[in-house]
Each structure stands twice: as structure tokens, then as C-alpha cells.
Symmetry: D2
Subunit: 358 residues, 4 copies
């Protein structure tokens, strides 16, 4: 019963098989092969336009490379103060951007609003001592499991246009957001003004396959060199593209994400029926953030359920984790079994009953 993250299992069988199938025989190295060519064309189809695609092996590399194409070394990149790029990547963006700075703004549910970004930008001193803002980076799904709606994205896109910022989307859980909104990849990205996207594959079924998808052509210039000098161009390049081929085949990626989101909903719905349990943030994708009684937290851990505590930094105003409560995160993935969700709910329910009895 491991709900620690969606990267604790390997690949989904279909992806692994695609990889194995592409293994034999000689092909051009460094992405000059046929599979890579096919997969790049597939990305064009998926996004309903020509895009530039660069394959990397980690989400951190995807984000950091994407931002390095968007922000000059003296620039500022606006993001949420709990964003993965600012909090979980050991300074990778700063490294790849050569010292450019991330400005972390507050926001409920780890989401930014057009208003708060706009106000922040207007308040910046107009002086050479102030690094000039050059990009906005948001996480779709957010770090609190929320999904930006299309109108929210549109509004952020307009702020970016208005202030000359590149709009970057960290889509480590892109598929989960997509099936949550029920829109097309195009609608969730460039149609709202997104310029460059970190397109995650690993969390939703690949072994190690992430892509940078560039909508704004200018940003693609030199990105291959940047990737090479970051040691991110795999010599046996087809082994990344093959994963994506399996991932896309028969809308496998949608199916994986739907499964994870559905189980998250199931877990979430079950939990909030229990006394003393409420959600820190609505369950919109494949993560559940309940605030539970400490006793329930303990019971779950004692039963061997694995998950992480979470920070209350981005709770809605007025909301608080009380004494005797715990805010936790449970992540569901393509590989999670429905039965495991039921067992977790059973354990939680028992803990609740015991507590009521006491």
C-alpha cells in the first residue's frame, strides 16, 4: 500500500514492451533514428500543430532546460513559492538558467492567479538592481493536486503577453490534468498562451521519459545544444522515444491517467465520509490531501500504508491543521490497485470507529 508518489513503480507493461521491442538491431544514435522521427510526428498530431520536441530523462531536466530557453541569466522567473522548480529540484533551474532567479509567490492550493501575478509584476522596482521578469512557470497539476481551469490559464497567458513573459507549464502530471479537465492537449496549452511545456511521461507509465514541447518557435533555438551540454541527449535515443510510442499507442496514457484519477476520487470520497476528515484541497487529479485525525494517521502508518505528510503553507485563508490533526498526501498512479484503496479506507474507517468508541 504505497501511496508515497507516482514514481515508486516501474513502467506500465505496455511501455516496457515498446521499449523491449525497440531494443534490437542497429539504428542511428543520438535521436537520428526512425522511431524518434515517428514519435515527433505523433507530438504534432497530439498538439494539433507543429511543435518542437526534446526528450530528456527527468522532469527536473525538462523544467530546467525549458526555463533556460526562456529566461536570460539576469532574468526573473515567477512561480508559486511551493512550485517544484523552486522547492524540489536542488537549484536545477538556477543552474541551467545560469543564476537567473525564481520568485516564489503565495497562492491557495499552490496555484497562482492572474491578479496576484499581475500585482507582483507591477510592484517590481524599475531599476537595474532589479532582475527583470522574463517568465512565468506554473504546475499543472499544482503541488496541492489542483488543476488550473482553461479560463484561469487564459488569464495567466494574457498577463504573460502583457508583460512580455514566457509562459511555462510544468506538466509532470500533464495527463492527469488533461483527463480531469476533459479538454484537448492543445486547449490546455498553446491555445491559452502556453509557450513551452514540460510534458511528463514517467509518473504516468514510462520508465524515464519526459519531453520539452515548444510552441513558441523562438524558444526552440539552441535547445538541442543546451540539452547536449546538460548530458541529456541519450546516445541510444530511440529508447526514450520508444517509451513514448508505447505510451501514446491506443491512448494508453489517457487510460493510465483516468485510472489514477478515478482511484483518487474513490479514495477521496471514501475518506471525507469519515468523521473528523476533511480535504485540504479538492481532489481534482490523482492526489488526495486529507486532513485527518492524528489517530487515523497513526493507524494508517502502523498498518504499513506509505505516504508523506504535507505542508499547510497553501491552505485557504482561515483554514488550519489543528492540534491532533495531520495533513497528508496520498498519490494514486496507473499501477495502484482498487483493492489497495479499499484496504486504506477500511483501515481509516476502523481507526475512526475506534476513536469514536473511546
Amino acid at each position: 500500500m504505497n501511496f508515497a508518489s507516482d514514481n515508486i513503480v516501474g513502467a506500465s507493461p505496455q511501455v516496457l514492451q515498446a521499449l523491449s521491442g525497440a531494443n534490437a538491431g542497429a539504428m542511428a544514435a543520438y535521436g537520428g533514428d526512425e522511431i524518434t522521427k515517428r514519435v515527433k510526428a505523433r507530438f504534432n498530431e497530439i498538439f494539433e500543430r507543429e511543435v518542437s520536441v526534446f526528450f530528456v530523462t527527468t522532469g527536473t531536466a525538462a523544467n530546467a532546460l525549458a526555463l533556460s530557453a526562456a529566461v536570460p541569466p539576469y532574468g526573473l522567473c515567477v512561480c508559486h513559492r511551493e512550485a517544484h522548480v523552486i522547492d524540489d529540484e536542488c537549484g536545477a533551474p538556477e543552474f541551467f538558467m545560469h543564476g537567473a532567479k525564481l520568485a516564489g509567490l503565495p497562492g491557495v492550493g499552490a496555484k497562482l492567479t492572474a491578479e496576484s501575478v499581475s500585482a507582483y509584476l507591477k510592484g517590481l522596482p524599475k531599476a537595474v538592481k532589479q532582475m527583470p521578469p522574463k517568465a512565468l512557470s506554473i504546475s499543472q497539476v499544482s503541488e496541492c493536486g489542483l488543476v488550473y481551469g482553461l479560463s484561469e490559464l487564459k488569464a495567466l497567458g494574457e498577463v504573460c503577453r502583457g508583460h512580455g513573459l514566457v509562459f511555462h507549464m510544468d506538466g509532470a502530471r500533464f495527463a492527469n490534468a488533461l483527463v480531469s479537465l476533459g479538454c484537448t492537449p492543445a486547449e490546455m496549452t498553446w491555445k491559452q498562451g502556453v509557450d513551452i511545456l514540460s510534458f511528463g511521461g514517467t509518473k504516468n507509465g514510462c520508465l524515464m521519459a519526459e519531453a520539452i514541447v515548444v510552441f513558441n518557435k523562438d524558444l526552440a533555438e539552441g535547445l538541442d545544444y543546451r540539452s547536449k551540454r546538460a548530458g541529456q541527449i541519450i546516445s541510444k535515443g530511440r529508447l526514450i522515444s520508444a517509451q513514448f510510442e508505447g505510451y501514446f499507442e491506443g491512448d494508453h496514457w489517457y487510460a493510465n491517467a483516468r485510472h489514477a484519477n478515478r482511484l483518487a476520487k474513490m479514495l477521496s470520497d471514501g475518506l471525507i465520509q469519515l468523521p473528523g476528515v476533511r480535504l485540504a484541497w479538492e481532489t481534482q487529479a490523482n492526489e488526495v490531501f486529507p486532513i485527518v485525525p492524528a489517530a487515523m494517521d497513526k493507524a494508517l502508518r502502523d498498518a504499513g500504508v506509505l505516504y508523506h505528510p504535507w505542508t499547510e503553507l497553501s491552505l485557504p485563508e482561515g483554514e488550519k491543521v489543528g492540534q491532533g490533526e495531520a495533513l497528508i498526501r496520498l498519490v494514486l498512479s496507473f499501477a495502484t490497485q482498487e483493492e489497495d484503496v479499499r484496504r486504506v479506507l477500511d483501515i481509516a474507517r476502523s481507526a475512526g470507529s475506534r476513536q469514536a468508541a473511546e
Copy 2:
């Protein structure tokens, strides 16, 4: 008949199987898993001492990260002027070292001698305008297919000690060098003064698995953070370690390297018996660098044999590629078929005969 490089095929079956076998089930992410623990212990055994090991996905990343641990941003790293680090990595070392410089020295067969390195170091101005030398990087196997002997390594190691340099070995073809020398990994590295090693797995049978092996403990400090910020720590970390597990199992890596070296010898021996063919550099590992008549070059290409022309920059003094000749490189790998070697030799032989007849 693809002899372009040893990265044009996928993984060897045994490695692929190890990867597949490690795919199912949940494990701690980011290298906190059991497989990774086992493989790290295996590295200690292989090198007959405690070593620090960091897994990455490309040789470029391994080299660049290793050098970043060795050279401060204002330092100089001495290498051969045809070294992979200076010539083939799009500035990755300079990126990871934050602007530190590579000084490329000449040397026959892309090898450096203790004498030439020492003379170079002594000739450097003692002034603040001169970046101070901090590391020496050599390629074992060299870019011209030569293998440093143990006494050569020892002499270079002593120069490093004498001048306070870190000694780095780019072992992209580590196994091929090892079976060529018939020595132990320990003898080829730290016993001769090597401080830090890029240990290649990809070219000799892995999908994408390289390791930085650190003998000098001080250099390991912070390397995990450096790797993380370079986007090189795979979330499903076991999928790299599992490759190494398969690679080491039953001395599979030795077998792979022996096969490649043996076929190289076979190809080399066959070629030099043909009229007008001579070797630019002795065949010591899994690469053959013949100088062939232009007609033979053409015949091979026409027959669909794939390989690269090579530069004559590091030919022995006095040696030259004449008009009507071509210096080419043929690379043999674990996956090369003996039959392919025979076919190449047949084509070359026919071309030679035809030419003689004309």
C-alpha cells in the same frame, strides 16, 4: 553492417532482462531502493575498496559531473586536444564546471604522456591571469583506440600528485580497456592514482547506464546535489541500477568486451594483410583505425558498410594519410556478428583485388 559506433544497438539481452525484472512493484524512488544498494556494494567488490558511486544516464553527464567535482570554476583541466570532453560534448564540462577551461594538449594516438603534461604544467605562467591547473582527464580507451598501460597510468598519476591535480579517467570504454590489459579494475584506476572515474556501461551492453566512481573521498562531497541539480537523478532510480546488476552478473560485462575486442582484432588482422592497408594506430581494444586506399573506402561504403572517417591530427610523427587514401574508424561492439566482420573483410579484399587488376 553498422560499424559507426558502439551505441547504435540497444541493450544486450541480459541487461534488458534485468531491467524488465526490476520493473514491477513499488520501491523507494530516487535511488533509495534495495537494488541500488546491492549494486553499490557490488562496485565496492569490483574495485576492491569502498568507493562512492553516482548513477547517470549519459557519458557526457558522467564526465561533466566528475570534472565539476574536481575543478573549481576558475580552474584548468588538462586533457588531450581530441578528448571526448573537449571535442564531443558541446561544452558540457564547461557548463558543469561553471566556466572552468579545458586545455587540450597534442599527443600521438590521442594519448598524453607524463612528460608532455609535466612540461605543459611547468610552462604555465605563475600569474593571476592564468587559470590554475586543477585536474587531468584522460580517456581509457583513447579516442584513437589505444589503451594506456599501467606504467603509463602510474606516471600520469605521479604528475598529478606532484602538481596537485585531480586525476580523472573517462572510461566510456572501461571494460574494453580492462580486458585489453588483462588487469583488475583496481589496478587500472586507483592503484595508479586515478581519483575519479567515468565508468561506462552504455557502449558495452546497457541501455543508458553510466556511473561516476569516486576513489578520493573528498571529491564525493556534494556530488549527489550536483547530480540532482543537473537533472540526472532518475526518479525510478532502480531502473539504472538494475541495468548494472544485469551487466555485472556472471561477468557479463567482461564477456561483452572480450567479444568486441576479439572481433576488432579479427577485423584488424584481416585488413592489414590487404595491399595498401595499414593501421593509423594499433588495435588495442574494440576500434580499428585503418588507412585504406580510397577505392576500398568507396567499395565498403557502396556495399552499405557504415563507419566514420577519422582525423589524422594525432598520427605518429612523420605519418600521413596520402592522397588516394582514407583514414577510417570501425567500431565493434558486444552485438557485432562475426559474420559481419567476415563480410567486411570480403568486400575489402575484393576491392583490393579489383584495384590490383586495374
Copy 3:
């Protein structure tokens, strides 16, 4: 009546004369001259021990270079969230530290306490995604005009030792702090655990002369190379050292700082006697931060008094700038005339009276 900053005048006559006097004749370039040698010895005397000194032309360069010696590219430097290094240097520290990050903590009066720093450090995740803290940087005088007392410095020094951090002091207004505390340079620095100091000369009488003073010998290694590669080693190096020679001669620097601090006290004392005026932070050095009625603010500006509005971010808890009030900063320097202070007070007083009359 320019109170905008302490860098709006040129040099004090004594410093200018020292510069002029050192101008003629040939001397070794790049700091190899006799004057530089003498001044470095003078620094040893001033700090009552051997120190390493590096001359630069701006405070930003001093801070950024000092931090680059203290923090590896993957490290974290803790500072106040309004610190000059994080807020006013356009990312110079991040540039010189090659992407290392500044973590800005809150604190009244732009000061940090040992408790808050300690709590922050303890709260950091122990994981490779988290950049490890490597240095603490404080501003003495703080950005709100406050001076750390010796016991406060000592406590911060102990936190640094306990967590393995380098302790950096931004002493852009070092002399003003010194005469405020009435202690020795040694007592205000290394005796409390400061490892490396940005020693400002420009704001207190030099043209462009700042020094990095290193107490922890290890941090001096390579700093000359770092400075050279930052374009900070002036070819006619004596022209910086000569400024310091004039600056130190006859305790000129103390006299300059005493003058500025005394006028600040005079201005401050005068202002708080006026109705509706209070201090945001106590006047401890050469800057005054009054909260004044908007009408007084307007009157001062109308009369041509130059100064900057200030942020209320670091006000004491519960304190606020009300509607109809303005928080402003007035900076006094060695060149400020007592008469100008009187004129400002007169204007403020009249404004106050007029307002009372209305």
C-alpha cells in the same frame, strides 16, 4: 539637500588627495605595488591579526565574490529577505556563486536572530532535492539602519559554527556600525565568528574602494583568481589602495562615520519631537527612518529635499504605516552639512505647524 543615499557625493578631500598623490610615476601593475603592500599591512593592524584582503570597486562585487568563496554552486546562503544581496544586486551573488540560492528570512528591522536562523535550518528537509545551507550573510548596518550588537553577532556566529555555515558580513556601512557600537573592528567581526567581510569604503569617503577581508584562511584560496575572472582586478591597482591609505590616515574613516552618525542622531532627535512623527526603527547609525504625516512628506519633497520612500516589510509586529502617513529613509554621510539637517528640520516643523493650524 540630498539625503537619497551616501553614494551621491564623490570622495572626501583627504581620500581624493591620497589618490592624486599616488598617481604619478611608474609602479608594478595589478596590485604588485608598494602602496598596496602597505595598505594590506594596515588591514592586519586594524583587525589585530593576519587577514587576506582583496580590493574591488563595488560593494556588489565585494559581496558576490565573498559569497562565491563561501558557497558551492549547489548551496544555500541564508540572509534577511530585504538584504542588499538578495534585493539590490540584480542577482550578482547568484551569478558569482554559479546558481547557488539565497534564502531570505523575515526579521524586524532587516535583522536576523540566532533563533530564527536556527529554526529555519532545522526545518529544512534532509533530502537531495534541498540545496544544503552553506553560509549566513548579514548586513551590518542592516537595511533598516539597525546595528547588530556584539552578543547578537556572537549568537549568530555560534549558529554558523553549529551548522557548518560560513558567516559573512556585508559591511557596506562598516564604519558607521563600528562607531555606533564603539568597539574595535576585531570585536565586531572575527571575534564573534565572522569568517569573511565586505569592508565598505565608498559610502564613507572613498571614490570606489571596497575590500573583501578574509579571516578564515581557507576561504581566501582562489579568491584572487575569482576576482580576476570577474574583471575586478584593476590594472592600475594602487589607485584603489591609495584611497584606502587616505581613508585610514589619521583615523579619517572614524571621523567621517562619526560625523554621519551624529547628524543622523540630530535629524532623528529633531524629527521625533514633531507631532505625528515616529521612528520605524531606532536611529543607530547614519540612516533615519521616520514615519511622517503625508503632508510633511509632501512639504519636504516640494522644498527639494531628496530621499526615498521605504518598505514597511520589516516593521515590528503590530506596527503599521497608516493612511496619511509615509515611511521614508534619509541617509546622512560624511559630506552632509549640519546646516542642511537644520533646514530639513525647519521645513518639517513648518509643515507640522501648518497642519496643526488647519
Copy 4:
């Protein structure tokens, strides 16, 4: 008799006076003052068009900043292998360019030809492993004292256009080149295709005043931020501009350069009349590079004449420094006395006579 360099004296009296004259009174800091405004307008006049000007304190900073505006971090900058930027700046360009690489080409007299640059560019592999060339940097005057003629500059400018390179000129001795050619600043720069210029003032009479002059508007974008984050924006900014004001006043800079060049010619003409003396490279500006008998070298040194030995790396083909000979560099400046030149010639003559007599 110090001929070591043209940075071993302070400022010329006229420049020093301009600095002193600008010292008193309050003005806007960070270059927002009237003097700076005036001097920038003066640059427009001098170059007969609108230019962007950025003031810095060292030639190294000027070069490194200029190149950072021209070359992305993954790019290549072509220069002569003895160029100041590659050889004498401790990696400043690599630091400011964030790891971009300098490619040093050979060339007689430390000059590059359009042919050699063009051939080099054409020979570069078209592959992502190869950093793409983005700029050409030349030194006018060259490191061997030679001056590029207008047609040579034009040809290099055309190569740059043809290959999409930014054309940078290191004009540390700009004035000396200018009076040597007898052309206008416009003719020596943008009219031949120069995009960005390091305009030296220090060697020809300033204390510490260099400027980056940008002709290609695109390159000016962000350069103020780059300069600020490099710690190169002096707070008392007028103190740099004032130097330039004095420097330009009454064509003082021309007079200084003419004086230095004239004395160089005088020294050069005198020396080559002596037996056994010849010039390594023609004397075209303010440096003399004679090859002299070892005995003469010794006699000069014994008499206290200060100068540097020089490398023979860029001698014309076939030329060599023989045994018993020394290649030396003597630099003349605005401050050199004619009498000193005569004394040097006397000493050299005596040494020659003595040797003949023996």
C-alpha cells in the same frame, strides 16, 4: 625606464583633473548624473551615430561583458590563440558567457585573416556535439603590436555576416590603432561591420575607465543588467564618466596616443639600426617587439630597463628566435619621456659596440 606595459603609471594630468573637478557636490548615483549623460552624447558624436555605451572599470570586464551579450552559453567565440580574452583574463569571458568556449586560431602577429577564420568555420562538424560559432573577437591593436587595416577589418566583417557571427573588437589600445591608421572611429568599427567594441581608456590616460560601445542595438539589450550583476556599475558613476570627459576634451586621447606611437617608432627605428637587432613584427602602434642579441637583453636589464620577454608563437613562418637571441616587448605610453627612449637606445648601442669589440 619602465616599458613593462602601458598601465604602470596613473592617469594623465588632464584626466585626473577632470575626475577631481567632478568630485564635489551631490549627483544621482549609478550613472544617472549629468556628466554621464554628456559623455554618452559625446560617444555618439565620436562614432557619428547613436551607440549604446556601458562604463566598466577594467578591460577584462569590458571584453567579458561584451562577449556575454554576443554568445549564448552553448556557443563558440572564435579568436586568435594569443588573444587577451583567451590568454590573459583568467577565464573571465568563460565566466561571463556561462561556459561558452573560446576557440583560439593561429595567425602571424596575433592577427586573424578572413581566410583562416572562414576555413575554420567551414571545417566545424555540423552536429549537436559541436558548439555553434556565434562570435569573432579580434584585438585592435593585436597582441603583437600590429594594426588591422580597414580592408582586413572589412573582410573579417563579411565573414561574420556570412556565418551569422557577432563581430567584437577588443580595443584596449583603440586610440593607438586609430592614430596609426589615421581613420575615424566610425571607419575602424561599425563601417567595417564591427558590432560591439571594448573601448579602452585606461592604458591611454585614464585611471580606470573602459567602455563597451554597442553598434548592433540587439546586443545592448540586458547589458545594463549584466553589468550590474557583474558588480561593474560604480555607485559614484560620474567618476568614470568624468575621466572620459577629460580624456576626450580637446582631443586629449589622440594626443596621448600619438605621443606613445611616435616614441614607439623612434625606439623601433633606433633599435633596428643596431647590429643583430631585427623586429619580430613591424612597429605599428605603441609597442616594439625586437629580437635582440642576448647580451643586449642583459645589458638593458642590468641598466634597470623594465620590459617583458615575449613568445615566438606568432612569428611569421620561417622566422625564429635564435640561440643567443631574445624576443622582447617594450611598451610606450602617453607618460613615456623621450629622454627615456634615448637612454634605452644608448644602452642598447653600447651593448652592441661592446659585443662587436669582443
